[in-house]
Symmetry: C2
């Protein structure tokens, strides 16, 4: 025993030394692990960028070596060999990693925790007289000397706020019924096993470690804005609800799928959560296995193998594409060949085209690709009802009512409010009858006066400015020479000012000269009040809400995280930002720092979609890209770079490799 | 588009060439991937065993190179750098794989399937007049011209038979309610996320591809031995049961957990299936999240964090060890520190020691290790009842009844028959009142006379020979000189013969000389009939059943697969194996080839168990090994080598690496 332990220690020291060598630029590195009588040899030759540099230092040795060997064996070839060498390098690499970087840090870790006592019993209060969690389980009162920031949610918006926050500015608590962040754009890939579900997840607890935040797994059911309390329920609802107090609150709870009140939604699958993806994967395998039974009648088999997607947006389209990949790459390999003939993938889309928010060229490309792949694309059709085994839809133009048997139907159209946002909108006067929480362009929830509540992501929408309503104010301010009309210079300054105050108008006010020329209808060389009114009315009409996408939520979170840092600093140091174009209510800076900081401004970086061995990208400025392999790599590399942690990035790369080495896993569980 | 395609083709050709080089022994290999205007450079240096040989060819270059580099950088060190270089080489390696080995084979695949028609409607028959699946969905009558071999199950036994079968000997159908093989020995690692669940699975359809077998996902509910029909139900029971005919049948359906009729089993978790592991993982995370809520009272928190294992066998012990690893490595990192103090892992064992089937030294080592780790080991205790929140057990010696609060209880003691084996045992006269299906030592099910049914693995047990019952026969045969007593030579020949006929007796008959001396009580130099009777009686008493382990099932499957090949060949060629010592009923070889072939012989290769940063091994011959890191590597490498496919082997290595780079995933879903 002792002997083994000593040896294991030597072993680790030995490995450690070797690894240090590796991390600083050695070209070939030889590992030998000796232990307990038998010698286990492992060899790892490892080159990172740093190593590549060292390669340059020894060009004669290494390059010559490469070419000699290469010439020797170029003539031989074998598909198996090719696969084997790549796979074995993966395995060897992995084996070396686990053989060297392992173990025993655990015991020292275990000693780290301090022996803290349990906290005292929580006081009750608030409108429902529930326990108020003034301190969390490992906190004393003196631990809490900073403003309390609570973030509801663990999606794109919430995670982006978290990543932007600095340590020690706030006492931060993140609350969500899911203890992980889900990389939603790749969810369609998880439905058929191209990616593993866990590769799309990152635990919230690991994301908040850097800012020493707390996490509570609970569902927010209500918010008392007056008392600044959030009402929470434990997810299993086995114990009493409780309150968590806040000074600043970020609502980033996302949305539900919009069912448009259609009957039969209980037969549909959705694709919003990781469990949705799991259920779909299991259902697909269920259907294939059932279709493979000798007793399944041909009609039922066709019905089992009919996959219907309602909604031609990116999620629906990507699911159809992944399904098609799965059929052509894996089903043909493992299942009775007859099944492949009987599979039918259909997309039912209410609009003229699938991917209708993308450039028309892209919709067209995707539709053509799908038709080539025998994916049944039905456009201009409205789903009327979903029965247990078939779906009923009506063609918009001809008013024909059609039926389609299905084995699985995915519902992926539009978004709806979730229970918490519904409750909030019923509670606040300014939020009545909306389809999302309305915020100003500083992302502050309308109806809460003290800038203590923000809402971001799918659950919110930014109220557009009504320029016309501020016409007089703008006109008077801009008319510097007080001559009752705006010269071009005066208008240019105004356009810039409006653009800074309402970033969403920027794109419409960008070309001040053409705008000025167009609305100066009497060609007087100046803009009169009525001419400016016409311009403002036209702009007001053109303004639309931002789409409910991960990109918007992420940018909002980033903006908010940065702003919250600035607010905390200003309030602590009492140094406030100077008033600027975008400042509002500048009379008392201390009362609301938010008013002095710039509003949120969205920059569209483009939209992507995978359409099955091909991908499309719309960069929003008329520039599009569609194509096969290179576009697929663009699609992958964008998502690869957007990962929230190194861990998920590595897992993603491994999953893509796994799939292409071994195919998808068809195990059903 | 066209441009892109051409480029992608070039890319693939280019990679292909490089990879072929790699597969034949180049030492450093340089990959450059250029595409789409941008240059993406990736470098992979890769050494497999083949490459090691080439290393020897150039000892001067490579070794010198290593040492120079090593000396240069040994002084620098950084933990981050170390992790980064290993991780990035993993990711880079993976990226290269997916960048090179990818895509476009799909479309050609899709063309491969033939346009077969659907089969005609199945005829009905059998005792219940159900449809008989004489042909499967992509078969015509003329496809089936070989004996039908049906394998029930997809566990160790079944998979081992499949791996041993040759193509074209039988029309093979594998039937199981699970469409995957599960690597059960590593199941405890999946409960806390050390390994991912899918890494333990291999789809049956991929395992049977090589022998062109068919797979049906269904549950066998009964067997009509007279009509040679298996009654099957689809797993979701939504459609009618049906029959599948067989000529040879292998029953390898495994077992259930034995609950010993104890009350409250509905509150227990088991650890037999992959879903069990998933449920446990979710429950553990549930409990930790709930314990982290500020409103959970200290008493309830302690109860939530009390994990109780009933049963001190390898599964229970390994689960406790994995749980302990999880606590010390991950819980302390992410959860409030107070939780670590309140966690309690307990093992309740009915016997004197945990791991009681292992060598006493090993039990002792494991118990000491566990006590050091503060795992609460309770031995000599019998569980009496399980209540929703606490477990009641009685100490065997003192008769004290004790209670233990729990947040999760794992039941892992003993095995019980599953519904199919129960049905069979009630049906056959020879199988009444048994705890497993009884087979002869050729693994043929007792009670079925025509050698058409075999049973292997946990669901079966081999009937031990009663040597005494055959005493006269053996004595007469052995007494060559017919003098009424056995000389040492005659006895030696007899011992050898018995050993060959009943391999299980081999170890008792091994030392013929000492045996002869011990039982020659009158020191006559010969063995009389009565002396032989005493010896046989003693041996009969010592014989025990084989344990219900993966190792036994695997060896039985291997034996059976080989034998089934031999039987098919013999029946086709009409060339039968010559009679031998182990042959029985040799009169009509044609009637039953099985009788001429050797019986099953088990060779114990040892037992392993992981006990948390340490492992133990019992090699069965008194040789044991226990210790820290080296033993853990032995444990890992044994399981690594036992994987049924290259795929699971790679996944296993990756999982081990993942865990040590990133820790376990604490996402709960």
């Amino acid at each position: 025993m002792l002997r083994n332990l000593t040896k294991s220690k030597c072993l680790r020291t030995h490995c450690l030394r070797n690894k240090l060598v590796a991390s600083h630029g050695t070209l070939p590195l030889l590992h030998r692990l000796h232990f307990s009588g038998q010698v286990q040899q492992t060899y790892l030759f490892n080159v990172s960028n740093a190593n590549y540099n060292s390669l340059h230092k020894y060009p004669n040795i290494s390059r010559k070596f490469i070419s000699t060997e290469a010439e020797k064996v170029t003539t031989e070839s074998s598909k198996f060999g090719r696969k084997l060498v790549i796979a074995s390098s993966l395995v060897l690499g992995a084996a070396v990693v686990f053989a060297t970087l392992d173990y025993k840090h655990a015991e020292s870790k275990a000693k780290e925790y301090e022996n803290k006592e349990s906290p005292s019993i929580l006081k009750r209060g608030g409108p429902k007289n529930l326990p108020i969690a003034t301190h969390l389980i490992d906190e004393r009162d003196f631990d809490i000397n900073k403003p309390r920031l609570v973030i509801l949610g663990s999606g794109w918006g919430a995670i982006s706020v978290i990543k932007g926050l600095e340590k020690d500015k706030y006492h931060i608590t993140v609350i969500s019924p899911q203890n992980y962040f889900l990389f939603t754009p790749l969810l369609p890939s998880a439905t058929v096993g191209t990616l593993e579900t866990r590769s799309l997840l990152e635990p919230v607890r690991s994301l908040i470690k850097g800012i020493s935040a707390h996490f509570l797994e609970a569902k927010a059911t209500d918010i008392c804005f007056n008392d600044k309390l959030i009402e929470l329920s434990p997810v299993d609802e086995s114990s009493e609800p409780f309150y968590v107090p806040y000074d600043k609150l970020v609502i980033a709870v996302g949305s539900l799928s919009n069912t448009f009140g259609i009957e039969g939604m209980e037969y549909c699958h959705f694709l919003k959560t990781i469990n949705d993806a799991r259920k779909i994967r299991k259902k697909i395998m269920d259907n294939f296995e059932k279709a493979s039974l000798p007793t399944t009648p041909p009609k039922e088999r066709k019905s089992l193998l009919s996959f219907v997607v309602c909604g031609g947006g990116p999620t629906g389209v990507e699911f159809a594409a992944e399904l098609y990949d799965f059929l052509t790459e894996d089903v043909v390999r493992y299942f009775p060949s007859i099944l492949r003939n009987e599979v039918q993938v259909s997309i039912i889309q209410g609009q003229d085209h699938i991917l209708n928010t993308y450039d028309a060229k892209i919709s067209d490309f995707a539709e053509k690709k799908f038709r080539r792949d025998n994916i049944n694309v039905v456009t201009n059709a409205r789903v009327q009802k979903i029965e247990p085994n078939h779906i009923i839809y009506k063609m918009k133009k001809s008013e024909d009512v059609k039926e389609l048997d299905y084995g699985l139907v995915l519902w992926s159209t539009g978004i709806d409010m979730n229970p918490l946002t519904k409750t909030i909108s019923e509670k606040l006067e300014d939020q009545k009858n909306t389809r999302a929480l309305i915020t100003d362009n500083r992302l502050r929830l309308k109806g809460v006066s003290d800038s203590s509540v923000y809402a971001i992501g799918d659950c919110s929408t930014i109220e557009n400015p009504k320029l016309v309503q501020q016409l007089m104010q703008f006109f008077i301010d801009a008319d510097k020479d007080k001559n009752g009309r705006l010269s071009y210079n005066e208008f240019q300054a105004l356009a810039k000012k409006i653009g800074r105050r309402y970033p969403i108008t920027k794109s419409y006010l960008k070309k001040a000269d053409t705008l000025f020329a167009r609305y100066d209808q009497d060609k007087s060389g100046t803009l009169e009040l009525e001419e400016l009114r016409t311009m403002f009315e036209d702009i007001d009409k053109k303004l639309t809400s931002l789409p409910a996408t991960a990109q918007v939520a992420y940018q909002q979170g980033k903006y908010l995280g940065k702003k919250l840092n600035q607010i905390a600093t200003a309030q602590k140091t009492k140094i406030f930002p100077p008033p600027s174009d975008y400042s509002v209510n500048t009379d008392n800076p201390e009362s609301d720092v938010d008013d002095l900081l710039p509003p949120f401004s969205y920059a569209h970086f483009g939209s992507l979609a995978y359409i099955g061995n091909a991908a499309v990208a719309d960069f929003g400025t008329g520039w599009t890209w569609m194509g096969g392999l290179p576009a697929v790599y663009l699609w992958r590399s964008v998502y690869f770079s957007e990962q929230v942690s190194f861990r998920t990035r590595a897992l993603l790369a491994l999953d893509w490799s796994k799939r292409c080495l071994f195919g998808r896993d068809i195990s059903k569980f």
